[in-house]
C-alpha cells in the first residue's frame, strides 16, 4: 500500500500503516460491515436469527413482529407493526446513508408482484437477459428442459467446448433455479460436468435455455393462507448417475400449501 498524499514523513523505511478501519477491497471488509450492521440492529432491540444470520426479528410490546433481512447493502423490512417499521427506518437513516424504495418490487434480480391472491416472484428479466446473451432470442421453444431418454456422462471422444463459457452459462442457470424448481434437477445435472464440458453437455444446457424461452413468465406464487402447516415430499432415484452410480435426492417443502424450499442433489455416497 502507498502512503496517502499529504502524509508527513516521506519514504521512511521499515514503517507500516496501522489501519483504524477497514478499506474497500480488503478481505476483512465484508465481516466488518456486517458486524457494524449487526451492532446497530442489536441496539434497536432486534434479535439475530440463528437459522439465518442475515435475518433480524423484533417482537414489540403490542405483540407485533418486525423482520429485517439484509443482503450486503440491500434490505427488506416486513412485519405487522407499522410504527416499529417507521422507527426502524429512522434509526437506520441515522446510522447509515439509506434510501427507502417503497414496496418491494425487485430484489437481487428477482421480480416481486403483489396481488389480492398473494405474492408472486419470478425472474423474467433475468431469463430475457440470458436469452440475449446466448443468442437464443429467436429460437424455437422446447417443451421439456431435457430429452427424457438422454443420460449424461463423461464422454471422452466428444469435442471439448469453451470451459469458461460453459461455466458462466451453468452459473447463470443455477442462479435461475431460485424461482424455478422445474429446472432444478437438470441444472444440477449439467453442473456436474463443469470441469470438462463436452459438446453434448453444452447442448443439454442450451436445451434448458430453449425450454425457458417457452416458459418465461413462470415463477412461484405465495398464496394467502390461514394455516402454517409444514409438509415435505421426498423422493430419490436409484443409481441415476451413469458416472458413479450415485442416486439423486429430491425434496420440496411446503408451508401452508406454498412451496418454500426445494432441492435436487446427488447423494454423497453410493446408495
Amino acid at each position: 500500500m502507498e502512503l496517502p498524499p499529504g502524509y508527513g514523513r516521506k519514504t521512511a523505511t521499515n514503517t507500516v500503516c496501522k489501519l483504524k478501519k477497514t478499506l474497500y477491497g480488503l478481505k476483512q471488509s465484508p465481516r466488518a460491515w456486517f458486524g457494524r450492521f449487526t451492532k446497530v440492529m442489536m441496539d434497536m432491540g432486534f434479535k439475530q436469527s440463528q437459522g439465518d444470520h442475515t435475518l433480524f426479528v423484533k417482537q414489540s410490546q403490542s405483540k407485533g413482529v418486525t423482520m429485517l433481512l439484509v443482503y450486503v447493502d440491500d434490505i427488506i423490512v416486513t412485519g405487522d407493526d407499522e410504527e416499529e417499521q417507521q422507527l426502524l427506518g429512522q434509526h437506520l437513516a441515522k446510522n447509515f446513508e439509506i434510501k427507502t424504495l417503497g414496496k418491494l418490487k425487485y430484489f437481487l434480480g428477482i421480480e416481486v408482484a403483489h396481488s389480492k391472491k398473494g405474492i408472486f416472484i419470478s425472474q423474467q428479466k433475468y431469463i430475457t437477459d440470458l436469452l440475449k446473451e446466448t443468442g437464443k432470442t429467436t429460437c424455437k421453444p422446447a417443451n421439456t428442459p431435457i430429452d427424457p431418454n438422454l443420460k449424461l456422462g463423461n464422454t471422452e471422444e466428444d469435442t471439448a467446448v469453451d470451459k469458461e463459457m460453459y461455466q458462466r452459462l451453468v452459473g447463470r442457470l443455477i442462479y435461475l433455479s431460485h424461482t424455478r424448481p422445474d429446472v432444478a434437477f437438470i441444472v444440477s445435472l449439467v453442473s456436474q460436468f463443469m470441469h470438462q464440458p463436452k459438446e453434448i453437455h453444452l447442448q443439454a444446457a442450451l436445451r434448458i435455455v430453449q425450454y425457458l424461452k417457452g416458459t418465461l413468465g413462470r415463477g412461484i406464487l405465495f398464496e394467502r393462507n390461514e394455516n402454517a402447516n409444514l409438509e415435505a415430499y421426498i423422493d430419490a432415484d436409484y443409481a441415476g448417475s451413469i458416472v458413479d452410480r450415485r442416486s439423486t435426492t429430491g425434496y420440496c417443502t411446503f408451508l401452508g400449501g406454498n412451496l418454500v424450499t426445494w432441492r435436487s442433489k446427488k447423494q454423497k455416497c453410493g446408495s
Binding site: 437459522g51 415435505a232 423422493d235 430419490a236 408451508l255 446408495s271
Partner: protein, 103 residues
C-alpha cells in the same frame, strides 16, 4: 458401499428432507409462527417408511445406520410423521408439453 435397493437411496433422501424441515422450523420459530402439528413427510416408498418405524436392525441396512437413528429420534419425539404417497410411475415431462401444477 453400494445400495442394493432404492429404499436405501430414498431413506437417505428422507434424512436430507428432515434436515431441511428442522431448519425451516427454527426459522419459523424466530418469525413467531407456531404450529404444534407434526410435520408431514410424504414418501412414495413403503419399505423406506417401514425401516424408519421398525427398530430392528437388519444386515441389509447397515450402511444407513446413522440416518436411521436420526430419523427414529425425530419420529419418537412426535416432530415428524411419515405418510405413504402412492404415485403412478409416469414420466413427468411428456413431449406434448409439460403440465405442471406447481407453477
Amino acid at each position: 458401499m453400494v445400495a442394493r435397493s432404492s429404499a436405501e437411496a430414498k431413506f437417505r433422501a428422507m434424512t436430507q428432507g428432515i434436515c431441511e424441515l428442522l431448519w425451516l422450523k427454527i426459522i419459523l420459530e424466530d418469525l413467531r409462527i407456531k404450529s404444534d402439528d407434526p410435520i408431514r413427510l410424504y414418501c412414495d416408498n413403503k419399505s423406506a417408511i417401514s425401516i424408519a418405524h421398525n427398530p430392528v436392525q437388519h444386515d441389509r441396512i447397515k450402511h444407513i445406520e446413522v440416518d436411521r437413528h436420526f430419523i427414529e429420534e425425530k419420529l419418537d419425539s412426535g416432530l415428524i410423521c411419515t405418510l405413504c404417497l402412492l404415485t403412478r410411475q409416469t414420466c413427468r415431462y411428456s413431449d406434448e408439453g409439460a403440465e405442471q401444477q406447481i407453477l
